[in-house]
C-alpha cells in the first residue's frame, strides 16, 4: 500500500459518486439519498485508513503524488498532505456524511421559510458530493495552480446549492456569495500567475530557472521584498474574503441566512477554513518577509473581527445569522493565532479550524432541525423548547457551550492555545481578544435562554424531539467535541510538525517564556 494514490482516489471517489447519483433514474429519491450517504461513508472510511498510516515523524508532505498536468504553464497534478491539511481533509470527510444524514429531507421539503417546494432531490446530493471532492482537493493540492482551480471551482456547487435550495432571498445571497469569492479569487489569480515568471528567472536572480507552481519549489523562491508584498496582498485579500474577516465579511451572514442548514455546515465549517488554511500555508510560507511586514494590520483586523462579530451576534434575531456572526468572531481568533507567529498560536489556530468545524457544524445542524419543525429561523419564534424536546435542547446546549469554549470541550483547548500563544508575543491584541470570550458567553447563553428556556410558547408546544436519524447526525459531532476536549494530544501531534515547518520558514522563534516586554519589543 506504499504507493497507493490515496489522495487522488479520495478526490475521485465523491466525484464518481456524484456521477452515479446523477445517473440514477428519476423519482427514486430514497435510493438517491442512500447511495449518496453510502458514497460519503466509503470516502470517510478510505480517508480514515489513509490517516492511520500517516507518520507524524515522517516527511512533511505524505501520500504525495506529482504528475505533469499542463506543461506549458508548469502545472502539476500534485497532491500531498501535511498534518494541518490532513486534519482538515478528515474534518471534511467526517462532516459530509453527517450533513447528508441531517439534510435527508431538506431538499424535498422546503428547508427555509416560504420557499417553493418543487426542487430536485437528486441535484442537491450531486452538488454535495461534487463539493466534497473539491474540498478534499483544495486541502490536498500542493501545486498552487491546482489549489487555485479547486478554490474557484468549489464556488459553483455552493452557488447552486444556495441559489436553488435556499430561503426567500436565496438568489441575492447566492450572487453575493459568488461575486465576493470570485472577486477575491481573481485578485489572487494575478498573484498566482505572477509566481510563474518569478520562478522562471535564473537562480542568480532569486528564481528557480524553470517556471513552476509546485509549492515545494516555490517556497525556495527568493522574491524581492516589494514584489512579495504585492503578492502577499493578492493572496491575503482572497483568503480574508473566504475566511471571512471584517471588513469583507458581509457575504457570510446573508449566505448563512438563506442557505439550507446542511450546506451551511459545509460552507462555514469547511469552505471558510480554506481561507485560514491558505493564510497559514501560502501567505506565510511563500512570502515570509511580507507576512511579517503585514502582521500589525492583520492582527488589528483579527481583533476587530473577534469583537465586532461577537457584538453583532448578540444583536441578531435570526438563528442562522447569529451563528454566522459567532463564526466571524471565531475566525478572528484563528487568524490571530496564525499571525501571532508562535508555535502555540499556530498549533492552536490549526486545531481551532477543526474544532470550529465541529462546534459550528453541530450548532447549524440543530438550528436546521429546529427550522424544519417550526418553519422559522427567528429567535423569538421559539421559547421553552427544552420542555418539549429535551434531547434537542441538550445537544444544543453542549454545542453552544463548545462555542463559548467551555473547558472540557474541544474549542477550549484551541482557544487557550491561541490566546497564550498570542500573549507571549503580542500582549495588547491578546488582552482585547480575551474579551471575545466574555461576549461569547453572552451571545450563546442568551440565545439558549431565549429559545430553550422558560415555559413553552404556544407554537412550540407539541414540538417533536430529535428523531433517531437526527441523533445519528449530530451525536457523532457532539461525541467528537467531548473526546477532543479531553484528549487533544493526538491531533496536536499530527499538527505540530507542520506548524514547526511554517514557523521556521517565517524565521520566528518562540519568545522565551520568561521574556520581559522590552526584550520582545526589541525583536524585529
Amino acid at each position: 500500500m506504499e504507493d497507493f494514490p490515496w489522495l487522488s482516489v479520495l478526490i475521485a471517489l465523491p466525484l464518481l459518486g456524484a456521477l452515479i447519483v446523477g445517473l440514477l433514474p428519476r423519482g427514486g429519491d430514497e435510493l438517491v439519498k442512500r447511495v449518496a450517504l453510502g458514497v460519503s461513508l466509503v470516502v470517510a472510511v478510505v480517508a480514515g485508513v489513509m490517516a492511520s498510516q500517516f507518520d507524524t515523524g515522517g516527511a512533511r508532505f505524505q501520500f504525495d503524488e506529482t504528475y505533469w498536468w499542463i506543461k506549458q504553464f508548469g502545472v502539476h497534478w500534485a497532491v500531498g498532505v501535511d498534518g494541518v491539511a490532513l486534519t482538515l481533509v478528515l474534518l471534511s470527510v467526517v462532516l459530509v456524511p453527517l450533513v447528508i444524514l441531517a439534510s435527508w429531507n431538506d431538499a424535498d421539503r422546503s428547508g427555509g421559510v416560504d420557499v417553493p417546494a418543487r426542487r430536485s432531490v437528486k441535484t442537491y446530493f450531486v452538488l454535495i458530493l461534487a463539493l466534497e471532492s473539491m474540498m478534499i482537493g483544495v486541502f490536498a493540492a500542493t501545486d498552487v495552480f491546482l489549489f487555485y482551480v479547486f478554490f474557484e471551482a468549489m464556488l459553483i456547487p455552493v452557488y447552486f446549492i444556495i441559489g436553488s435550495y435556499g430561503g426567500a432571498q436565496r438568489s441575492y445571497a447566492a450572487v453575493k456569495f459568488l461575486l465576493y469569492s470570485l472577486f477575491g479569487g481573481l485578485i489572487m489569480l494575478v498573484a498566482v500567475i505572477w509566481l510563474y515568471p518569478l520562478s522562471a528567472k535564473p537562480a542568480s536572480e532569486g528564481g528557480l530557472g524553470q517556471g513552476t507552481f509546485l509549492f515545494s519549489e516555490l517556497s525556495k523562491l527568493n522574491i524581492d521584498p516589494t514584489t512579495a508584498k504585492w503578492l502577499f496582498v493578492g493572496f491575503f485579500i482572497a483568503f480574508a474574503i473566504k475566511a471571512p474577516m471584517v471588513p469583507v465579511h458581509t457575504w457570510l451572514p446573508d449566505a448563512a441566512g438563506q442557505s439550507p442548514a446542511g450546506a451551511l455546515v459545509l460552507i462555514v465549517g469547511v469552505l471558510d477554513k480554506v481561507g485560514t488554511y491558505g493564510m497559514l500555508r501560502f501567505c506565510l510560507e511563500l512570502f515570509p518577509g511580507a507576512a511579517n511586514w503585514a502582521t500589525p494590520v492583520v492582527l488589528t483586523l483579527a481583533v476587530i473581527s473577534i469583537i465586532y462579530g461577537a457584538v453583532l451576534a448578540i444583536g441578531q434575531v435570526d438563528l442562522k445569522r447569529l451563528v454566522a456572526y459567532t463564526s466571524i468572531s471565531h475566525f478572528g481568533f484563528i487568524v490571530l493565532g496564525i499571525f501571532a507567529m508562535t508555535s502555540q498560536g499556530q498549533s492552536g489556530a490549526a486545531l481551532y479550524m477543526v474544532n470550529h468545524g465541529f462546534s459550528t457544524g453541530a450548532l447549524f445542524l440543530i438550528v436546521g432541525f429546529m427550522i424544519v419543525r417550526r418553519r422559522s429561523a427567528r429567535v423569538d419564534a421559539y421559547g421553552g423548547v427544552q420542555k418539549e424536546a429535551p434531547r434537542l435542547a441538550g445537544m444544543f446546549l453542549v454545542a453552544g457551550l463548545s462555542g463559548l469554549s467551555l473547558p472540557g470541550l474541544a474549542p477550549f483547548v484551541s482557544e487557550f492555545l491561541v490566546l497564550t500563544g498570542t500573549f507571549t508575543r503580542y500582549k495588547v491584541p491578546a488582552l482585547i481578544a480575551t474579551t471575545g470570550i466574555i461576549l461569547a458567553a453572552i451571545y450563546i447563553l442568551w440565545m439558549y435562554q431565549r429559545t430553550m428556556g422558560g415555559p413553552p410558547t404556544e407554537k412550540v408546544k407539541g414540538m417533536a424531539d430529535l428523531s433517531t436519524r437526527e441523533v445519528w447526525a449530530v451525536g457523532p459531532i457532539i461525541a467528537l467535541i467531548v473526546v477532543m476536549g479531553f484528549f487533544p494530544q493526538p491531533v496536536l501531534n499530527v499538527i505540530n510538525p507542520s506548524v514547526e515547518q511554517t514557523l521556521s520558514r517565517v524565521d520566528k522563534k518562540d519568545p522565551a517564556p520568561t521574556g520581559n516586554v522590552a526584550e520582545i519589543g526589541a525583536r524585529p
Binding site: W69, I70, K71, Q72, F73, P116, R118, S120, Y148, V149, F150, E152, A153, L155, I156, Y159, F160, G163, S164, R170, S171, A174, V175, L178, L179, L182, F183, L186, I187, L189, V190, I193, W194, Y196, P197, A200
Partner: protein
C-alpha cells in the same frame, strides 16, 4: 521627349522583350483558400443551374465537403513540412500562425454551418431576401416553403476572405481579403427570417460603418506606402529599422490602419456596431461572426503589429494599453444593463476582445501562442452559446429577451445547464476553456511586464462575472412563466452545441495538446 512618352516607350520596350512573366503561384500551399473560393463559385453556379427543389441538397454537402477538404489540406500542410515561407509572389504568408488560424477558422465555420443548414420550421433565413418585410411577396414565398440557399455560397466567400485576411503579407492583399470577408457578411446579416426590419437595419448599419472603417484602413495603407514605398509588411519593418522616411506618414498611417483593424474586432471605441449587428443578424451568422471573424481579424492584427510595426512597439503599445483597458472595462460594464441575450453576448464578445488584446500587447512568442489558444477556445464556446440561443424559441422566433428565459432551468435542465456552463466558461471559471485561455494571455502579459493591465483584466472579469451570473440566476433561481419559450433542437444544432461543449470541457481540463499546437505554431513567429 516628354515624361509620358518616355514611360510609354519604356512600356513598349518591356512588352516587346516579354519581361512580364506570369506570377508564380504555389497552388499546393494555397489550396485550402482556393478550395473554399472554388466551392463558393461552384455554389453560385448551383444557384444558377440547379432546380430549386434540389439546390439545398446540393449546396449543403458541397459546403461541408469544401470546408472539410480545406481543413484536411491545412492539416497536411502543417504536418508534412513546417511551412515558413511566403507564397504568391510574397502576397500571402504560409507560416505556423497562418495555418493554426486557418485551421481554427475552418473548424469553427464547419460548426457554424451546422447551424446555418437548419431548415424547415427551424430555418433561420428569409425565404426571399428581396421581398419587402410584411409584403404579399414575402407571405407567398413563406407559404410556398421556399428555403434560402444563397447563404451557402455567400458564407463560403466570407470564409475564404477570413482565411486570406490573417495570411496576407502585404497591406493591399489584406484590404482585398477584408472586403471579401465583409461584403458577404453585410448581406448575410440582413437575411433573418423573423424580425426582418431589425435584421435589415443591422445589415445597413454594419455596411455603412464597415465601409467607413474600410476607408480608414485604405487611407492608412496609402500613407504607409508613402512612408515605406511598399505595401509589403516586411519592407515597412525594414524601413522602420533603418529609421528612415517621414515619421508623420508612418504614425498617421499606422493609426488609420489600426482603426480599420480594431473596428473588425470590435475594440472600444470602435465597437458601436457590434451589439446592433449581433442582435439583428440571424443567429447562425452571429455565431459565425463572433467566432470566425474575430479569429481572422485578430490574426491580421497580430501579423501587422508583430511584423510591420514590431520596431514601432514603443509607440503603439501605450495606445494599445488604452484600447485594451477601455475595451475590457466598457464591454463588461455596459453588458450589465443589457436585457437581450444576444446583445449581452455581443458586449461579452467586446470584453473578450479586450482580454485578447492583452495577449497581443505582450509582443512575445508566449503572447502569440496564448492569443492563438484563446481565439480557438473562445470560438468554440461562443458558437455553442449562440447555438443554444437558437434553440430557445417563442411563437415569434427566438426568445431574445432575458426575462423570457426565466425558469428555463426547471423547464429544460439540460439546455439551461449547458448554457450555464458556457457562461461560466466566458466568466473564466477553472476547468473550462475560458480559464485556460485567460490564464495563458494574462501569463504572457505579466511576463512582458504588463501587470497593471492584467489587474484591470481580472477586475473587469469580476464585473463581467456579474452579468453571466445574472443569466444563471434568471434561468435557475426564478420561477418559470406559464407561457415560457419552448426548446426546439434540430439534430444539426444539437450537434453544434455538443461540439462546442466538448471543446470547452476538453480545452479546460486537458488543454495540453492544443497548447502544444499553438506553441508549435508560434515557435518561429511570423514569416517576413
Amino acid at each position: 521627349m516628354s515624361t509620358t512618352e518616355l514611360v510609354l516607350a519604356r512600356g513598349t520596350a518591356v512588352l516587346a522583350q516579354g519581361d512580364i512573366s506570369a506570377p508564380h503561384i504555389e497552388y499546393g500551399q494555397l489550396a485550402p483558400m482556393l478550395l473554399v473560393f472554388g466551392v463558393a463559385i461552384a455554389g453560385v453556379l448551383v444557384e444558377a443551374f440547379v432546380g430549386r427543389t434540389w439546390r439545398y441538397s446540393v449546396q449543403v454537402p458541397l459546403a461541408f465537403l469544401g470546408l472539410i477538404g480545406a481543413f484536411a489540406w491545412t492539416c497536411v500542410l502543417a504536418y508534412t513540412d513546417k511551412p515558413f515561407h511566403v507564397a504568391a509572389e510574397g502576397a500571402l504568408a504560409v507560416d505556423g500562425p497562418t495555418l493554426f488560424l486557418q485551421g481554427t477558422i475552418l473548424v469553427l465555420a464547419l460548426i457554424s454551418l451546422l447551424l446555418i443548414a437548419e431548415r424547415g420550421t427551424k430555418a433561420h433565413f428569409a425565404p426571399q431576401a428581396a421581398a419587402l418585410p410584411g409584403s404579399e411577396a414575402e407571405q407567398e414565398t413563406m407559404a410556398a416553403g421556399i428555403t434560402q440557399t444563397e447563404v451557402f455560397p455567400l458564407m463560403m466567400f466570407a470564409v475564404g476572405g477570413m482565411l486570406a485576411f490573417p495570411a496576407s503579407n502585404d497591406l493591399l492583399t489584406m484590404f482585398v481579403a477584408l472586403e471579401i470577408l465583409s461584403l458577404p457578411l453585410y448581406l448575410l446579416c440582413g437575411l433573418a427570417r423573423r424580425r426582418r426590419l431589425l435584421s435589415q437595419e443591422a445589415a445597413v448599419k454594419y455596411f455603412l460603418l464597415g465601409a467607413f472603417s474600410s476607408a480608414f484602413f485604405l487611407y492608412g495603407v496609402a500613407l504607409l506606402y508613402g512612408y515605406a514605398g511598399s505595401v509589403r509588411l516586411s519592407v515597412i519593418a525594414d524601413q522602420l529599422s533603418k529609421n528612415a522616411g517621414s515619421e508623420t506618414l508612418l504614425l498617421a498611417g499606422a493609426a488609420l490602419l489600426s482603426v480599420g483593424l480594431l473596428f473588425k474586432l470590435g475594440a472600444v471605441p470602435f465597437h458601436m456596431w457590434k451589439p446592433d449587428v449581433y442582435q439583428g443578424a440571424p443567429t447562425p451568422i452571429t455565431a459565425l461572426m463572433a467566432s470566425c471573424t474575430l479569429v481572422s481579424a485578430f490574426g491580421a492584427l497580430l501579423r501587422v503589429y508583430y511584423v510591420a510595426f514590431e520596431n514601432l512597439r514603443w509607440d503603439w503599445r501605450p495606445v494599445m494599453w488604452g484600447v485594451a483597458i477601455l475595451t475590457m472595462v466598457a464591454g463588461a460594464i455596459i453588458a450589465i444593463t443589457q436585457t437581450d441575450v444576444k446583445r449581452l453576448l455581443a458586449y461579452s464578445s467586446i470584453a473578450h476582445a479586450g482580454f485578447l488584446l492583452t495577449g497581443v500587447i505582450a509582443t512575445s512568442r508566449d503572447g502569440l501562442s496564448s492569443t492563438l489558444f484563446y481565439l480557438a477556445a473562445y470560438g468554440f464556446t461562443t458558437i455553442g452559446a449562440f447555438a443554444v440561443i437558437t434553440m430557445v424559441r417563442d411563437a415569434g422566433g427566438e426568445a431574445g429577451h432575458l426575462s423570457r428565459w426565466a425558469g428555463l432551468g426547471k423547464r429544460s435542465p439540460v439546455v439551461a445547464g449547458v448554457f450555464a456552463f458556457f457562461l461560466l466558461a466566458f466568466a473564466g471559471i477553472p476547468l473550462t476553456s475560458g480559464f485556460t485561455g485567460k490564464f495563458a494571455v494574462f501569463k504572457a502579459a505579466i511576463e512582458s511586464g504588463a501587470t497593471p493591465l492584467v489587474v484591470v483584466g481580472v477586475l473587469s472579469s469580476a464585473i463581467a462575472a456579474f452579468f453571466y451570473v445574472r443569466v444563471i440566476v434568471v434561468m435557475f433561481f426564478s420561477e418559470p412563466e406559464a407561457d415560457g419559450p419552448t426548446v426546439v433542437a434540430g439534430p444539426a444544432t444539437a450537434a453544434a452545441v455538443a461540439l462546442g461543449l466538448t471543446a470547452t470541457v476538453v480545452l479546460g481540463v486537458l488543454p495540453q495538446p492544443m497548447l502544444d499546437l499553438a506553441g508549435q505554431a508560434a515557435t518561429q513567429m511570423f514569416v517576413r
